[in-house]
Symmetry: C2
Subunit: 146 residues, 2 copies
DNA sequence: TATTTTCGTCTACAGTTGTAACCATAAATG
DNA sequence: CATTTATGGTTACAACTGTAGACGAAAATA
């Protein structure tokens, strides 16, 4: 597989990526200018982060005269999904539900997203188990944790 | 505030914590034994992780004869929430909805969790905006990204 | 008691991350 | 032309992580 592991972005790198994703490619000076409106990083810092993203093959460069244009090689949505999935993979199964509840209640959602979520829940409720088991201890351990 | 920053746990440390949370306190030998059923870490590695968690004050020790019992100083749910919240804080506002949709559809949920989620959505749908705006570029930039 | 096991502590070491200075060269400007 | 500016490249360095060996004291066992 050629899949790039988006979970390998550090938080600082992630912030840069958001700008590049949104602009769908940008030169270092653009990124620097925009980034410095959000954070107090120096030019140097931002250039280092760009370079690291290129090394990780999360960005690719296209020469444009004397400068480079940085292009994402990973989609924003895919990257976000990978991250969220990865995080949830490491949480206690039993408690994921509660976590999503907490998350959802804080989130600002559009009408259409809400509709879609309702549809999914509707569908899920047909086969939902009474309870989901904890998986924090190694398999085979009969633990009804928590 | 005395709040301990649970987002400061590394992934490896997090794995240990799950065991300790579930058992609600454990000695190093217990943790080592359990952990080694999931990962191939050596005793030494696990001891290092325990020590680091103590240094970060995420675990506290209580002497029990010659050994220590390690107790969590942070609740599992709080820690999980902090993590999830932190991750979502760094995502594009506009796309959070889609991400939750994706997440929810993969998740195994209990009947009661589903009910609760439905209630929340019901409530939210009363005041939900038609659309949520992207916030990837610095404030003040009129970007209709994406 | 001599030996082995159990625990805790100290040390190590390479890789990642946040943060940044400095240098060279090409381009723009005075 | 001399100087300033823009851009990319190189180097640095401390903190944090994953991973683990070695040392020492106490306890259990042969």
């Amino acid at each position: 597989m050629t899949a790039i592991d988006a979970t390998k972005m550090s938080p600082a790198e992630w912030e840069l990526m958001r700008i590049i994703w949104t602009k769908n490619g940008a030169s270092s000076s653009e990124v620097i200018k925009l980034m410095q409106q959000k954070r107090t990083w120096t030019e140097s810092t931002i250039k280092t982060l760009l370079r690291r993203l290129v090394n990780k093959k999360i960005l690719k460069t296209v020469k444009d005269g004397r400068k480079f244009i940085y292009h994402p090689t990973v989609g924003e949505k895919e990257a976000m999904n990978e991250n969220v999935t990865e995080l949830f993979d490491h949480l206690c199964n039993m408690k994921k539900g509660k976590i999503v509840i907490e998350l959802l209640s804080k989130l600002e959602l559009s009408r259409s997203d809400i509709k879609e979520l309702q549809k999914i829940l509707e569908r899920k409720s047909k086969t939902a188990p009474e309870m989901v088991k904890c998986d924090c201890l190694p398999a085979g351990m009969k633990n009804e944790c928590c």
